[in-house]
């Protein structure tokens, strides 16, 4: 295909991204460097004060730190929970594949409002867990599970799991099955094959999954808002509050721009870092 034809075919799509993503993001950044707003447009002098406030004020820094900390926990838990499933999918007979894929992806295929509602029913004061605890006598009164950080972790791990599982599975599928057999003929028991052969080779997948999951976790809004404690305890809920309750669009835009920068830095920076460290084993591999 000639270059001109190819570029012509790509032009509408590039225009779409430019118009619906590029321009709005530029507009958002414009808001963030203006003092304030008049009506729906940024107004006042150009300033970096909003960024200085977001990065200089202890309260906001704490929210950032809390979000990053929660994202870290969610990432770790999701890796630990997803690995056995990915490993199982890798070894399962072919005819189970469709069912296992649907299972692994179901959190993604079911609207987040549905799973959130499900977690409410499970974690609520009169929910499934608490009734079981009371019935077995493990607790004498309901334990507060809903509207806690624990609920956020549970809900978010559930939602991000498909990405982690698929990333790990993709790495596992690149492993030459003969390697395990070779290790076995050399006398390695199963757990040592897992530790010395499979896990190291799955590392690129775990790394790629970690990237995606971490960036999804820091930018999630619905789960912390619905399942988490009230008040602004995530960057995203803080941004939401600035826009809808405090009507401080410029400061909210600055926070949103920072969140965007942070999540792009995670996606691109982390991949580069890991590539440099040799985790991705060679060109063309890794980032899912």
């Amino acid at each position: 295909m000639r270059r001109g034809t190819a570029l012509l075919l790509l032009a509408p799509a590039v225009l779409l991204i430019a118009a619906l993503l590029g321009a709005p993001l530029a507009w958002l950044v414009r808001f963030s460097v203006h003092e304030g707003q008049v009506g729906v447009a940024p107004a006042g002098a150009l300033t970096l004060a909003h960024y200085a406030k977001a990065l200089g004020d202890g309260f906001y820094l704490e929210v950032f730190a809390r979000t990053l900390g929660m994202a870290l926990v969610i990432t770790l838990v999701s890796a630990v929970v997803s690995y056995p499933l990915a490993h199982f999918m890798w070894q399962a007979p072919r005819r189970w594949r469709a069912a296992l894929t649907i299972l692994a992806l179901s959190p993604l295929l079911v609207s987040i409002v549905v799973s959130s509602y499900g977690w409410m029913v499970i974690l609520g004061d009169q929910g499934v867990v608490n009734r079981a605890l009371l019935a077995t006598g493990l607790a004498s009164r309901p334990v507060k599970l809903m509207y806690t950080d624990l609920a956020i972790v549970v809900g978010l791990v559930h939602i991000v799991m498909p990405f982690m599982t698929l990333s790990i599975l993709a790495a596992l599928e690149r492993i030459d099955p003969l390697l395990g057999e070779a290790a076995a003929t050399l006398g390695a028991p199963r757990w040592r094959i897992l530790w010395h052969v499979t896990l190291p080779l799955a590392l690129p997948g775990i790394a790629a999954g970690t990237t995606i999951v971490f960036s999804l976790a820091i930018s999630s809004y619905v789960t912390p808002a619905v399942l988490g404690p009230s008040g602004s305890n995530f960057i995203t809920t803080l941004i939401w509050q600035q826009f809808t309750q405090l009507m401080n669009w410029s400061f909210g835009s600055a926070l949103a721009a920072l969140l965007l920068a942070l999540s792009l830095a995670v996606v691109f920076g982390y991949v580069r870092l890991l590539t440099a460290a040799g985790v991705f084993g060679g060109p063309g591999r890794g980032a899912a």
């Binding site: 469709a98 894929t101 649907i102 799973s115 929910g127």
Partner: protein
Amino acid sequence: MTALHRLVVALVAAFILAPIVVVVAVSLTDSPIPEFPPRGLTLRWYAHALSEDVFTTSALNSLWLATAATALATPLALAAAYGLVRGRFRGRDAIQTLLLAPLVVPSLVIGLAILLAFSGMGVRDVGARLVGAHVLITFPYMVRTILASLARLDPAVEEAARTLGASALRCFVLVTLPLVRPGVVAGMLFAFIVSFDNVSLSLFLTNARTNTLPIAILNYVEYNFDPSVAAISTMLVAFSLGAALLVERLVGLRRVVGG
């Protein structure tokens, strides 16, 4: 596979399915509050859900929105994917990254940016900004699926058509398109689900009068806790999983989701 591994996988599967199973079970309970395990069996919450205007109106909105977004994203994605796969020019990778960018920008940021920009331009129409936003986020999934389908197509098949006298356009219509059709259809289905289920973007772009179904559900549970939400959620799940099953049959879900 050891017994321990199986046990762990069973627990993980239980965790994945728990909220969905609970929702489905609750939708059948005969008590006015969501109870699990359900007490008695009834379909009355389904009847109740279907008689609620907030659900039916918003469901129609969602249907309309997902259809419009998919219809607009499809030709764009098809052209772009074909250009990417068959074109040879510098900056290909950069353009591909750009086209998939809506997947790496946080939804919340996209939603806010579109809200601000559309208001700034004086576009107040909820429908317009919803369609715009949904085209943007469904588009990358379609590009990815079609790219995967095209990558599996032997370029020699197209070359054969060309040497036999087919112009580039006829070659595309008679050979390429029929061969990637499963991928295109799968991409459309997945785009439809993504749009239909979306919360994080719609949250910023809907208003009290124009709602999508997931947003209506979210609003409803804030003030009501009766199992009709479970009933409507179950219908939503059945719809999404049905479409997903079709996608899996057509091209395999993993090609669409990536990873």
